[in-house]
Each structure stands twice: as structure tokens, then as C-alpha cells.
């Protein structure tokens, strides 16, 4: 437990960063699912993605604990263009301070209508990834900047209040 993980990202590309226009597709995907399957369907999509698509990440977190979580998010944000994020950890907690969310920044730059509940996906996807590893996540803020805390599931902390996650918009 807690030795340094060898590879932080489970799926690797040949280029160091992704193409920002894919944020347009991510936002459009959320809108399509919200329109067709409703809020419950969209939240199920996010949770299923965390449980299934990101299962290799969750497994790394089970093995390496907070060190694995911190290393994953550092590598993740290094590969996202336009981000301004710091990742810190102590023995029990990993904290992401997102000063500039790359997705919200690009959607605004492209003047795209942002799905208002866009920022909720960070909670639902990450919670599904963290739970099998014995962690939970709390998101505070959104709409371009936020803090995300990954805590042991047995930590004495109130459950995520979705009202703490700011609705996203163009402004």
C-alpha cells in the first residue's frame, strides 16, 4: 500500500496533450443524454463511466492509495491543454485546486452553451472511481474553478451537497 505507482494514466496517446475541441463533444454528449434520459440518466452515465471505463484507475488507487490518486491527477491534468491546477496530498487526503478548468475555459472561448450541471460530472465520475479504493470525493465550486478533496471513506465529513457545486454558464 502507498508505494509509488509505476504508470499513472491507463490509456496512453502518442502526443503529450489532447485536442481541446474534444471538450465540445464532451459538453454536447452531456446535453444529449440529459435531453434524452433526464438528470437520473446523466448521473447514471457518469457513475457507470467511473465504475467501468475508469476501472483500471480505480484499481491503481486501491493498490497505491492517496499516492496513486495524487499521481493520477497530476498526470491527468498535465495532459489537458489550458489547465491551471495544483495537486497536493498529505497522508490521508489529496486536494486538487483547479484555478482554471480547461474544459470550461475552452467552451467559453468557443462561445458554446454549457450544460448547467456540467461540473457535477466531476463528483459523480470521481466518486465511482474512488469508492472501490476506499475513498470519497467532495467538490466545492465549479463554473471554471473549484476544489476537489479525495478523503478516506471513513473520514468524518458530511456527504457531498450538490448545491456546493456551482452551475456552469458562459459567464
Amino acid at each position: 500500500m502507498n508505494e509509488e505507482p509505476p504508470v499513472a494514466l491507463p490509456y496512453r496517446d502518442t502526443k503529450p496533450q489532447g485536442a481541446a475541441d474534444f471538450y465540445l463533444a464532451i459538453n454536447a454528449t452531456f446535453r444529449f443524454i440529459l435531453n434524452r434520459l433526464g438528470q437520473e440518466g446523466l448521473r447514471r452515465y457518469w457513475s457507470d463511466m467511473g465504475h467501468r471505463y475508469f476501472a483500471p484507475v480505480s484499481k491503481q488507487w486501491q493498490t497505491h492509495g492517496a499516492a496513486g490518486i495524487a499521481q493520477y491527477w497530476q498526470a491527468f491534468y498535465d495532459a489537458e491543454p489550458g489547465r491551471e491546477v495544483s495537486v497536493t496530498r498529505d497522508d490521508r487526503e489529496v486536494r486538487l485546486d483547479v484555478k482554471v478548468c480547461p474544459a470550461i475555459a475552452h467552451l467559453r472561448q468557443q462561445k458554446r452553451e454549457i450544460v448547467p450541471c456540467f461540473c457535477e460530472h466531476c463528483h459523480f465520475v470521481s466518486e465511482a472511481m474512488a469508492a472501490p479504493a476506499g475513498f470519497t470525493v467532495r467538490v466545492q465550486g465549479g463554473n471554471g474553478s473549484c476544489t476537489q478533496r479525495f478523503l478516506p471513506a471513513d473520514a468524518i465529513t458530511p456527504p457531498q451537497n450538490l448545491e456546493d457545486i456551482t452551475r456552469a454558464s458562459l459567464s
Binding site: 502518442t14 485536442a19 474534444f22 454528449t29 446535453r31 467501468r52 491527468f76 489537458e80 460530472h121
Partner: protein, 190 residues
């Protein structure tokens, strides 16, 4: 957060998730409404307003940005793309990601509706190994697909190694705009 670095991975996973939720029609609707009309509205606007010139602007930018190995040849009659190493399918192959039965269908799924609305039809073939070609003509054109090498010379993907991998069946389209409008299976072209 869901990122853009591994976008093609969770995009492909999403096709399978949608199919499980609502069947094939929901996947088709996603490609047309979610991708063609929403995500790719910038491509749609360029092509509807500028035709072939809009295609060159869109694909020149996008494929450069995705670092693709590709070639574009165009004249007044046809716009042709030869994709030698699709960055999107390549990502999936390298990472062993296969959740949906035919990832390559998504391109016709979103490009087809754009071309239909803009008054074009598509001849297309892909080999499921990251190689494909496209010839886009005005819908009133009666010309068929070009012979290998005639339009694109040595850049024609049909002349490249790996095009006719026997283990990989090809999908073909003729004057199509619908992802399900595939030609009956036949041996790979030479």
C-alpha cells in the same frame, strides 16, 4: 473530470453505453444530434456555407490538430481524404479498447448528416485498422469512386501497406449519407 487526452476511449465506451440504454437508434441519434448538430456545429456551418472550401478549412485544421497521417486532394468535382493512420482509431487499437462493435461507423454517423444537409454524397471505405478514404461529391454527380491512385497518386491509401489486411473486413459506402447504408460485403479492394 473527464478529459480530452483519452477522449476517444470514453467516446467509444459511450457508444456501447447508449446502445445498452436505448438500442441502435439512440446511438444514431447521438451521432446526428449530439455530435453532428451540436459538438461539430463549427464544421457544419463551414461546409453548409462554403461547400468544398469549408471542407478544406475544417479538415485541414482538425486533422493537423489531431496529428493525423492523412492527405487531402480536391478539385471542382470532388473532395478526397486519404487517412493513413487515424489518430482516433489508433488510440483505441494501441490501448486495446473495444466496447462498441464498430467504432468507425461514428464518422459516417456525424459527417453523413452534414453532407446530406449541404447537398453532397459520400463514397467511403474503411478497413477497421485506422485507414480509410472518402470522396465527397455534389448529390447530383453521377461519378463513382475513383480508381486507386487516380486522384491522390501515391497518397491513395488503397495503395498503402496494410490496406488489405485479410483479417480486417472492409466497410464500403456508395453515394451515401447514412451510417447504416453500407454496401453488401465483398473482398477488399486492391
Amino acid at each position: 473530470m473527464i478529459g480530452c487526452y483519452d477522449f476517444c476511449g470514453h467516446y467509444e465506451w459511450t457508444f456501447a453505453w447508449l446502445e445498452a440504454e436505448g438500442g441502435h437508434n439512440l446511438v444514431r441519434q447521438y451521432w446526428e444530434e449530439g455530435i453532428s448538430r451540436d459538438s461539430q456545429q463549427h464544421a457544419r456551418e463551414l461546409i453548409l456555407s462554403q461547400g468544398f472550401a469549408g471542407m478544406r478549412t475544417y479538415w485541414g485544421h482538425t486533422l493537423d490538430h489531431e496529428a493525423a497521417g492523412y492527405a487531402i486532394h480536391a478539385n471542382e468535382e470532388v473532395f478526397r481524404i486519404d487517412m493513413h493512420a487515424c489518430p482516433s482509431k489508433g488510440f483505441l487499437i494501441r490501448n486495446g479498447l473495444v466496447q462498441y462493435r464498430d467504432y468507425c461507423d461514428h464518422c459516417m454517423g456525424w459527417i453523413g448528416p452534414v453532407m446530406q444537409d449541404a447537398g453532397f454524397v459520400i463514397d467511403h471505405e474503411h478497413n477497421h485498422c485506422g485507414q480509410c478514404w472518402w470522396e465527397i461529391r455534389r448529390e447530383e454527380s453521377t461519378a463513382g469512386p475513383s480508381e486507386a491512385g487516380r486522384l491522390a497518386g501515391e497518397a491513395d491509401v488503397r495503395l498503402h501497406p496494410g490496406w488489405n489486411e485479410q483479417a480486417s473486413p472492409h466497410d464500403r459506402y456508395h453515394q451515401a449519407t447514412d451510417p447504416d447504408d453500407k454496401c453488401p460485403p465483398q473482398p477488399p479492394s486492391s
